[in-house]
Each structure stands twice: as C-alpha cells, then as structure tokens.
Symmetry: C2
Subunit: 225 residues, 2 copies
C-alpha cells in the first residue's frame, strides 16, 4: 500500500507556519518567537511548534539559530540576500569631467545612492569602492548608453583590453565611455555599438582613464523620442 499521508512535501500546518513567519517578519522587522507562532497557528504547545520548525529546517525552508531568541529565517525568498549601496557621485556628460569619489569618501554620508543586488555583481567588484553616475545627454549613445541611464563604475587609472572605461580626453575636453584597447601606436576606443567606428588615440595625446564600467542600468519609465 501507499503512504497516503499528507506527507506530500509540506503539510498544511508547515505552510501555515511558513506563511506566518513571513507575515510576522514583514510587520515586525524581526522573526516571531516559538510561542507567537503557536498562538497564531492554533498550536497550543511550544514543543509542537519546535517539532515543525525542526522539520522545516531539515527540509531547507528555514534556518535556525538554536538557543537564540527568534533565531530563525526563511531560506525561501532570501537565498541570496544582501545588496550593495553605491553612491551617486553626480552626472556624466560629454563636455564635463568625471566626478570621482576621493579616497577618504564615506559612502554612508552620500545623500543619493542606488542599491544593487549583490547577486548581480560580477563577484570581484563586491564591497569595493564602486560609484555611480547619472548619464546626461545623448552623447554616450555610441556606447549603447542613453540619457537617464545609470552607470556603475569602479575607480581605475588603467585598463586591460576589452574593458569598458570612462575616459577624459583633456585636449578635446570630452568625456566618453568606450571599450579600451591598447595598440602598437596608441589606444583604440571602440564604441559598444558595432556599427560605429572606433576613435584612435596616439600615444602622445592625453588620455585619462577614470574608471571601469561594471554595470549599466536603465529605468524605462516613459522616455521615448
């Protein structure tokens, strides 16, 4: 015969507890206690709640810190979790230099910032001194970057071939975002848009790399032409 038990994964009560923990967490900003779970899930004994909590932990739905008050958390919607706070240093546009944070800059005092789920980051760049810039104007269009976009940058003075960099061409008084390539007689700045031609820079010409682009974010909230 078969086990026709309700053991088909999660029982009704398991789900109820899980839902309650989530709801409680949202409201109180911290997890519930065993007794609170019992009250709201119609379980009269703390041991029974503990009993289910153990099962939920074995099943991987929650994580418990034994002995610690309210020491439980859902693995459900928080398998990855943290995010990075990236300070917005200002705007980037063709005719203006690039604002970069000073070395002693404190990211927490920044008025403006964007949050990035750290799971989106290429791993290496985490926790680093990243900064963000708002793109103003359509001068970066050949970098596939539009007016209003947000670019996340990592401070850098050098770059390897193939990396997208923010450069300041002091003689042309121009800021631009391009893929960087070192060549025998100078540098090649390649637009991201493959239909456009690269800019060649001689070794004698000034070229200041200000940072490497690690991410571009575009909020499409009705702009359009």
């Amino acid at each position: 015969m078969m086990m026709v038990r309700k053991s088909k994964g999660l029982g009704e009560r398991h789900q109820k507890i899980l839902d309650f923990i989530e709801a409680y967490q949202r409201e109180h900003k911290h997890p519930p206690s065993i007794r609170e779970i019992g009250e709201h899930c119609d379980i009269s004994s703390t041991s029974v709640v503990n009993y289910y909590l153990d099962q939920l932990e074995k099943a991987g739905h929650i994580e418990r810190d034994r002995k610690i008050s309210r020491g439980m958390r859902l693995m459900n919607n928080t398998p990855l979790g943290d995010m990075l706070r990236v300070p917005v240093m200002g705007v980037i546009q063709a005719g203006e230099p690039i604002p970069i944070p000073p070395s002693d800059f404190n990211p927490f005092t920044a008025e403006d910032s964007v949050e990035i789920a750290s799971s989106l980051m290429p791993a290496r760049e985490k926790g680093k001194d990243l900064f963000a810039l708002h793109v103003r104007g359509e001068s970066m269009i050949d970098a596939m970057i539009n007016d209003g976009d947000i670019v996340i940058l990592k401070p850098a003075q050098e770059a390897r071939n193939g990396e997208m960099v923010a450069v300041w061409l002091s003689d042309k008084n121009e800021t631009t975002l391009k893929y960087f390539y070192k060549e025998k007689d100078g540098y090649r700045l390649q637009p991201a848009n493959p239909t456009m031609k690269p800019i060649m820079i001689k070794k004698s010409e000034p070229l200041e790399i200000k940072g490497k682009v690690v991410m571009v974010i575009r909020k499409v909230d009705r702009q359009a032409a």
Copy 2:
C-alpha cells in the same frame, strides 16, 4: 567657552557599537544581544550599552524593539531594504517568440532569477508579476539594448504612447523592442536610438504586445567587439 566635547555627532564608542552590530549581523544573520555588544566593545555593564543604544536610536541610527531579544536594526545601510526576485523566463531574440510566464506561474520554483533592489523600481511595478529575459543577438541594438543584456518586463497586452514594449510581429516572424505610439492609421514603433527610423505598422497588420519594458540591466564584464 566652547563645547569641545567629543559630541561632534557620533562619539568613538557610538561608532564602535554601530560597526559591531553591522559586523555581527553579517556573520550571524541576526542582531547581537546587549551583552554581546558589551563584551566586544569593552563595556562592562549592560546598562551602559543600553545607554548608548538609546542615544543611537534617538539619533536615528538604529531602531529598537524594546523588550524583544536582539530587537535592533541598523537604519544606516538599510533605509530601504527589500528586493524583488524576478524569474528569468528565457531569451529574447529577433527570430523567436517571447516566452511569457503563465498566469499560475510560481516565481519561487524558477531555477534562474535575478534580484533587483526594489528601490530601483518605479514603485508601481513592485511585487507584480514581472519577469526577465536574456537578450540574445544584436537585433535589439536599435533599442539601445545589446547582446547579453537583461530586460525586465511586465506582462501586458496593451500599451500607452511612449512606453517601450516587447512585440511579436507574427507575419514578419519577428520579435522586437520599441517605443510604442498609436497613430491614426496604425502604430508607430520607434527605436530608442534617435538616429534610427521608426517602423510603421498598419492597423491591418498583426501586432502582439507581450509586455512593457520596465528596466534594462547590462553587466559589463568584458564583452566588446
């Protein structure tokens, strides 16, 4: 005389406590107790820790749930906090239809997903049934979207003027991302790149709107041409 006190904002001890809470939280996934703070910050009395915690709360650096064990949280780097889990439904490319999630789709069972800080979302779209697609190929280049980009979409069958939509042109067997405009004799699909010309669609021609683009994310991890 002047108040030459160390009362210049946060004292050394305030900062030390703040830092410890943050470090402890990262390691243990839950806040420390008053006594734990005392130990690691060289404060012998729990009342002193409580004393500082009160000040930190008044100053707005933390939030406390009195009477509740470990009931504190930083307001510092978590003024906003949660993020959205957006399931990745597949790829979007010129010659293929757009995969859209069925109405009964469970986002939590999705193997692949991207996390977006909800503070980045245009507010309206939060908690909705958003989904994401990987862009394959360079056919969306006139929408300022490149190979490898991630587009976040909201399911939709209609659109208002100026919104960027994902459409399926069944007679041309083509998927494309364009700004949508309704005109007297049909529809105008405007590329995001202003240097490119729009596509005009007669009312008689089939045009299936599959979703509205709400965000585009590009991880610049050395692609280049």
